[in-house]
């Protein structure tokens, strides 16, 4: 390295920026056989940044008070503040798209076996991020205090009342009232703008650190040492990032198209009616990203308890993937595990079916389809240990990959 003067040289002496740059960027190597799905981690960070920035600007005019919230959003921010509507659209569409990006990020992780050793911590911190993001989205959805906001919060908090023994008292505690009311709004507001984003930041840092330590997986799931990657891989900067910028640009084109021209999916029409404690709208449903889990809840239409257990399991089972899948195959990617691959596709199709069914009225045929798709959802998690066993046998008999 040639001696550098000027500001960079000065900083380098004190902060070792050159070394940092090397470790983090120019001499951090990624495998070459990764596709653009590996860009989705950075995309989630991009969306998170967009959410924080747009959030700060809507926060400047938002009023967390059940009498003022609706008008502060729909009049002040949407009509009076110059460009206030841009920030609100960006924030609402951003929240929705965050989950699209997250689902793709997670689906990628499952397909290529990225949750398996040695990436368990990456997976678990990722899962915590998913839970935190869901909580952030749920608390944020109450803030405009529209009909959908209100009844979503009312029904989801009611779920807590089903917990044996403590349930009924717990709901009242969560709401700070017998129904969702001002106290609920202000505490959701506090969680949404301070604690939850702070936790997301912390866990993002751990998540990224863990990825750096164990290194990125690749399409074939071939374990690679740092030396092998240096030999055959690509450096993070500029090679990986040059592609990343391109993917980001394409993503942002799509994102802004939604923001300006197709935002209704993220800003439900029903939520343009102010909350009314005494009248539930004829159709209520969660935001699209919770629909699949919601459908599992409704899927066991003959038993409330089964539905609840299924609902909780459907959300938390993915956390245990690294321990459900104990396959000994050295190539961890689903690409080289035919049985796993089949189950993955069934799971994805089922998840889409659950999502769609979650928005349809749960009657007649839809009720039965709901039950079947809910059961299929769990089939994936039950199949993993079985597939692992089969693969173990194959390896033991000298076969397998």
């Amino acid at each position: 390295m040639e001696k550098k003067g000027g500001l960079m040289g000065w900083l380098d002496k004190r902060l070792a920026v050159d070394a940092l740059w090397k470790v983090m960027m120019s001499e951090y190597y990624l495998p070459k056989n990764i596709n653009f799905l590996w860009s989705f981690g950075v995309l989630t960070m991009l969306v998170f940044v967009i959410l924080v920035i747009s959030g700060i600007f809507v926060l400047m005019y938002y009023k967390p008070d059940s009498h003022m919230a609706f008008d502060s959003v729909n009049k002040t921010i949407m009509m009076d503040v110059a460009y206030g509507w841009v920030f609100r659209h960006v924030h609402a569409v951003g929240a929705s798209i965050m989950f699209l990006v997250l689902f793709i990020h997670m689906g990628r992780g499952i397909y290529y076996g990225s949750y398996k050793a040695p990436r368990e911590v990456v997976w678990v911190t990722g899962f915590i991020l998913f839970v935190l993001m869901s909580a952030t989205a749920f608390t944020g959805y109450l803030l405009p205090w529209g009909q959908m906001s209100y009844w979503a919060a009312q029904t989801i908090t009611t779920l807590f009342s089903k917990i044996p023994f403590i349930g009924p008292d717990l709901v009242i505690w969560i709401r700070g009232n017998y129904i969702v009311e001002d106290a609920t709004l202000t505490r959701f507001f506090a969680l949404h703008v301070t604690l939850l984003p702070a936790l997301i930041l912390v866990f993002t840092a751990i998540h990224l650190y863990a990825v750096r330590v164990v290194g990125s997986n690749n399409e074939d799931g071939i374990p690679m040492t740092k030396e092998e990657k240096k030999e055959k891989g690509i450096p993070f900067w500029p090679v990986f990032m040059s592609k990343e910028y391109f993917v980001m640009s394409v993503f942002l084109l799509f994102f802004f198209f939604l923001v300006f021209f197709n935002y209704k999916f993220a800003m439900d029409p029903i939520n343009f009616q102010p909350a009314d404690y005494l009248q539930t709208p004829p159709h209520i449903y969660p935001e699209w990203y919770f629909l699949a889990f919601y459908e599992v809840l409704r899927g066991f239409f003959f038993s409330e308890t089964l539905g609840l257990i299924g609902f909780v399991l459907s959300m938390f089972l993915p956390l245990f993937l690294p321990w459900l899948d104990t396959s000994p195959y050295p190539y961890i990617s689903g690409k080289h595990r035919p049985l796993f691959k089949i189950m993955w596709w069934i799971f994805v199709v089922d998840f889409i079916a659950l999502t769609i069914l979650g928005k349809l009225p749960p009657t007649g045929l839809f009720a039965w389809l709901g039950l079947i798709t809910s059961l299929v959802y769990f089939a994936f998690f039950i199949a993993l240990p079985i597939i692992s066993k089969i693969e173990k046998k194959k390896v033991a008999s000298g076969g397998g990959q």
Binding site: N35, V239, S242, V250, L253, F260, F265, P269, F272, I352
Partner: protein, 283 residues
């Protein structure tokens, strides 16, 4: 090309999901609305369920006499110097709702509807508790009254139309328009305070609103919104107004949107070129 294949799969997955949770789900959820619209051919500006109407070629002079005899005890007609007999508050207390001034009524209400309404208000409005009683007038008398009203009516638009046609029960507080009848009187009369209409266009959309205003009972059985018989022109004028007030930045949004998308397209070009350059020698 492998990446393009992955992208295609992704697009199919996202596309199918989107289709399922938006167009498909909404078409199923709103089936009864579409059915009602279809069944009654809404909007029906002929109000064909009310039956035939005699020719409405009455005599305005006779109509004025009839008006003063039968209508002026509740309604004013400022256009002809007839003031409202009571102030709004007292009127609301005694009738439940402020009776309209009838100066411009024929310019926004369909005349055939008006004929049937005067004949039997509860039936025409499909609202049993309507404050106006059937007056037992002869067909000719009604025709005369309508001719008289028509001779005084002038066209009203936008905000003025909204105030005259909807403003006795509904407000639009973001425009600083408040219902003429006090809320508690309305609650007593209708069972609930009618919704504020500032952003109703965003909540309901034009397709629904047009049909609903045309025949409320068809879309929302049991509603306490009476059918008011707006004619086609007034309905369209009103829709335009409601759209403007609910979405005042529509034009700006489209303009800024185009600029941002164009900006992103250029960015895609630049980043693609740079990526190509960096990856030239990597295989």
């Amino acid at each position: 090309m492998k990446e393009l294949k992955i992208l295609a799969v992704l697009i199919v997955i996202v596309g199918v999901t989107y289709w399922g949770i938006e167009p498909l789900a909404h078409s199923i959820m709103h089936k009864h609305i579409e059915e009602a619209i279809h069944k009654y051919h809404l909007p029906d500006y002929e109000f064909s369920d009310l039956g035939s109407t005699p020719p409405l070629d009455g005599d305005p002079a006779k109509g004025k006499e009839a008006f003063q005899m039968f209508c002026a005890s509740c309604h004013g007609l400022k256009a002809d110097g007839i003031p409202a007999p009571m102030d709004p508050k007292t009127a609301a207390m005694s009738f439940g709702v402020v009776p309209p001034d009838l100066s411009n009524i024929t310019s926004y209400t369909d005349k055939k509807f008006l004929f049937h309404f005067i004949k039997d208000p509860a039936k025409a409005s499909e609202f049993k508790k309507i404050a106006m009683p059937a007056m037992g007038l002869q067909d000719e008398q009604i025709a005369d009254i309508i001719a008289y009203l028509d001779s005084k009516a002038k066209k009203v638009h936008g905000e003025e139309l909204f105030k005259e046609a909807c403003g006795r029960c509904h407000g639009a507080k973001y425009q600083k328009i408040y219902a003429e009848t006090p809320p508690d009187a309305l609650k007593k009369y209708l069972g609930k305070v009618p919704p504020d209409l500032s952003i109703i266009m965003k909540a309901k959309g034009e397709h629904y609103l047009v049909a609903f205003i045309n025949k409320p009972q068809a879309l929302l059985p049991g509603t306490s919104m009476p059918r008011v018989g707006l004619n086609k022109e007034a309905t369209e004028d009103l829709m335009k107004y409601l759209d403007e007030i609910s979405d005042p930045h529509k034009e700006q949004r489209q303009k800024v949107g185009i600029i941002v998308l164009a900006y992103m397209l250029v960015m895609i070009g630049l980043t693609y070129a740079w990526k190509k350059k960096i990856w030239k020698n990597i295989h």
